[in-house]
């Protein structure tokens, strides 16, 4: 399999280089045959990458331990599911996953630009250049098919932390998000190169960004869930560099999804919107770079691989080309914009959207700064200085607060120009709801000013969204019909708008849950003998003893605890402590009792030889709503992504070179 794999990687690289050359030449010579050859090389590239991935899957399933990567991530006792997901359990395999996802996107993108013969060659070149880079990194750098002379009798087995269903789906989702940013970038490069007017291709780019955004959101959700269930520290977000790596492109993609509305409607912010596409691709590559190099201190730190330097070079080229092209086309973009395309009033949707963008970009910037601070400080002063979670929370808190305010009032701002008193009037009801809710929270015992502020703002957002839906349903004909069908019709009539509001609602839910759970979680830990109890947050948790069992390669200690509340037994939980003998590592299997109001979180920290157990207990309120909120965000994104009437309208536009100057006038 290694010969086949190596051949496929090398072939993918060569065919990508050939495709770039052929396509570039076809642009110069206007040669259709060369162009077709370039397009076919995308198919060949995809075929070879799929072949390489297939070879790796076979090697994994077949436990070919003479392949380094296979020996690193699998062992004979590894179950089938984790043998397959071991594909992305090490860095060579995850790079191959990157290339595989790229191949899929490349095929889809090629179909999507079929109707745009001017644009297509540039998309081909960008996609193949990215593909060439990653296949070269695989073939010559981090090769998953590298072999050892003396194969070990058994592999080391997959990193125990990765043996979780959440880790099975987290990396693919994240990579579908990261790699998805390649296509909008390719469209941007092509459109800038052929001077396509901003409005037309951006509508298509929006759909790709939305798909990538959905996968990134899902990836963040799965990662947070994994962190909560598997890592056993009771949290879901630690401002770890690897988490930040996914958050940064998410922030810029979110920014893009906001300004694109103003761009499409009124032709404003063209250059800004395009630069967000370039930036999102850059941050996605940077995210890959961050997760694939051991440069930063990180709980996820993977192997030290020199691939980091090449990735940084690739990133520099991609950003250089993107922004240089954008600068050169800046006058064109300005000229092509309608003369009336300028912001008219501060009390306008345009101004609100732009403010939102600046806040999101500031967020991405402070996250970037905090993430690479150890490198920056080493370059400047020679000392590596890290900044921890307090930095991120102290800086992100005001930004998130401002974003929440905008989220509530922004949709009330009319396009072009509005009247401040009218906006204030329509914000009155949700504002009152938020203040009343805040008073209720204070009465219930929320004392921290920060937590109270966030909760009030979340309520403000939720009330504004609900009111928006209620008013829209009320004002539609046939108002006496049932609520649910008319809600469905309303959302169906303007998926993008109402999908966006659903996302806002989910975001408010996530933040409210995160605030409450971090402000009110109670923790208790101790060492108990069988029959002894620990108390936490109104619970009485009795340790009933532990059992040690053996499974292939593992020693599993299972503790039985009886959970009582107000004297009545409500549950028996079985937290486990698993020791992986081949790797000499152990992990805690958290036992969680999830309720709508709170989670009881039980960790078996250790078991002493005399049978006493070290337990850590936590009661985390409202955690369930964090997951629900993220799912609501995903649903909202899906609603907006499904092509509705509007989307069908905008995707039928034609791409043209050198647009005729548009006469002044206002649609």
């Amino acid at each position: 399999m290694t010969e086949l794999g190596n051949f496929a990687l090398l072939a993918a690289f060569i065919v990508a280089i050939f495709g770039i050359g052929a396509t570039a030449l076809s642009l110069r010579r206007h040669d259709d045959a060369l162009r077709a050859a370039g397009e076919r090389s995308v198919h060949c590239f995809a075929a070879f990458v799929i072949l390489a991935a297939g070879a790796l899957v076979v090697a994994l399933l077949d436990r070919q331990f003479h392949v380094r990567f296979v020996a690193e991530v699998t062992s004979r006792d590894l179950p089938l599911l984790y043998t397959l997901t071991a594909f992305w359990g090490g860095h060579a395999g995850s790079l191959l996953l990157w290339a595989l996802v790229l191949a899929g996107y490349a095929l889809a993108a090629q179909r999507a630009v079929r109707g745009a013969p001017e644009l297509a060659p540039y998309v081909t070149i960008v996609v193949l250049a990215t593909g060439a880079f990653f296949s070269a990194a695989l073939a010559f750098g981090s090769n998953p098919f590298a072999t050892t002379v003396v194969p070990p009798p058994d592999g080391r087995g997959l990193n125990p932390l990765l043996r979780s269903p959440w880790m099975a789906i987290h990396p693919p989702a994240l990579y579908l998000g990261f790699v998805g940013m390649t296509i909008p970038y390719a469209l941007a490069i092509g459109a800038l190169a052929i001077r396509a007017p901003a409005g037309q291709w951006l509508a298509q780019a929006r759909r790709w960004v939305l798909i990538a955004w959905l996968f990134l959101t899902a990836g963040l959700l799965f990662g947070a869930r994994w962190s909560y269930i598997v890592l056993g520290w009771g949290g879901y977000w630690a401002w770890d560099p690897v988490e930040n790596a996914a958050l940064m492109p998410w922030l810029t993609a979110t920014a893009f999804l906001h300004t694109i509305q103003a761009q499409e409607r009124h032709g404003v912010f063209a250059a800004w919107t395009v630069s967000l596409l370039i930036l999102s691709f850059g941050l996605a590559i940077f995210g890959t770079f961050l997760t694939r190099s051991g440069l930063l201190s990180s709980v996820h730190a993977f192997a030290n691989a020199t691939i980091g330097i090449y990735l940084l070079g690739f990133l520099a080229v991609a950003m250089g080309v993107g922004f240089a092209l954008l600068l050169r086309r800046l006058p064109d973009l300005r000229e092509a914009a309608r003369p009336a395309a300028r912001m008219e009033s501060l009390a306008s949707r345009e101004a609100a959207l732009f403010t939102n963008n600046v806040l999101l970009l500031l967020g991405a910037f402070v996250v970037l700064l905090g993430t690479i601070f150890p490198i920056l400080s080493e370059l400047v002063s020679g000392d590596r200085i890290a900044v921890g979670p307090p930095y991120f929370t102290s800086v992100m808190a005001p930004l998130i607060g401002l974003l929440l305010v905008l989220m509530a009032v922004g949709p009330l701002f009319p396009w072009r120009a509005g009247r401040v008193d009218a906006i204030a009037r329509s914000a009155g009801v949700p504002g009152a709801v938020a203040v009343l809710g805040g008073l209720a929270c204070a009465a219930l015992g929320v004392r921290s000013a920060g937590a109270l502020t966030v909760l009030v703002l979340c309520l403000f957002v939720a009330a504004a969204v609900v009111l928006e839906f209620a008013v829209a349903i009320g004002s539609r004909p046939g108002r006496d019909r049932a609520v649910i069908p008319s809600l469905m019709r309303l959302v169906g009539a303007n998926r993008r708008r109402y999908g966006g509001y659903i996302v806002h609602l989910g975001f408010a839910l996530v933040l409210a849950a995160a605030t409450v759970s971090s402000a009110f979680s109670t923790v208790s830990q101790g060492v108990v003998a069988a029959g002894q109890s620990l108390a936490v947050g109104g619970y009485d948790v009795r340790y009933d003893g532990a059992q040690v069992t053996r499974a292939p390669g593992r020693r599993i200690a299972t503790a039985a605890v009886t959970v009582r509340r107000n004297g009545a037994t409500v549950a028996t939980l079985r937290p486990r402590h698993v020791t992986y003998e081949a790797r000499g590592e152990s992990t805690a299997d958290v036992a969680v009792r999830s309720l709508w109001t709170h989670d009881l979180y039980v960790v078996l920290v250790g078991l002493s030889t005399d049978g006493r157990a070290a337990l850590r207990l936590a009661v985390n309120p409202m955690i369930m709503w964090l997951w629900i909120g993220m799912v609501v965000m995903l649903l909202g994104g899906l609603v907006a992504a499904v092509p509705g009437r509007e989307a069908r309208r905008v995707t039928t536009v034609e791409y043209t070179r050198h647009p005729a100057p548009v006469a002044g006038g206002d649609r």
């Binding site: 020996a71 690193e72 991530v73 359990g89 090490g90 050892t148 003396v150 070990p152 080391r156 125990p160 932390l161 598997v230 890592l231 056993g232 520290w233 009771g234 201190s297 709980v299 996820h300 730190a301 993977f302 192997a303 300028r342 912001m343 008219e344 009033s345 501060l346 101004a351 403010t355 600046v358 806040l359 500031l362 402070v366 700064l369 601070f373 000392d383 590596r384 200085i385 890290a386 900044v387 921890g388 979670p389 307090p390 930095y391 102290s394 800086v395 005001p398 930004l399 060492v527 000499g584 590592e585 152990s586 960790v603 920290v605 250790g606 002493s608 006493r612 157990a613 070290a614 850590r616």
Partner: protein
Amino acid sequence: MRASRKLAAGLIIIAAAIAVVAYTGIRSAAVYYLTPTEFAERVDLREGRVRLAGTVVPGSLRTHDGRVVGFQISDGMTRQEVAYDGPLPDLFGEGREVLVEGRLSGSALAATRVMTTHPTEYKERPRP
């Protein structure tokens, strides 16, 4: 003044405010990130919070009631005693690379946070 100018002015004020918050955030959250050897040499850093990277020295674990309460980390040259009484991350163990964050108390680093790194590369074991 045009609307866009006013907006730009407002946003610059927000950005400046965030810059101030970020600066103070970095000032208060910054920890030096060192190896035990560097930490031993840098007398000037003995007072503040530091983050040390090293390997848990085999046989150095001190336990109390089945729970780890202290250990030593090493970068191959210098050892540093660590006192810690909190939740240990998964995969913590002897010979494992860890990051510890805390403040010096006596000769031991009183750690408030212990993190593990997860190398995934396969190392060939020496043949017998």
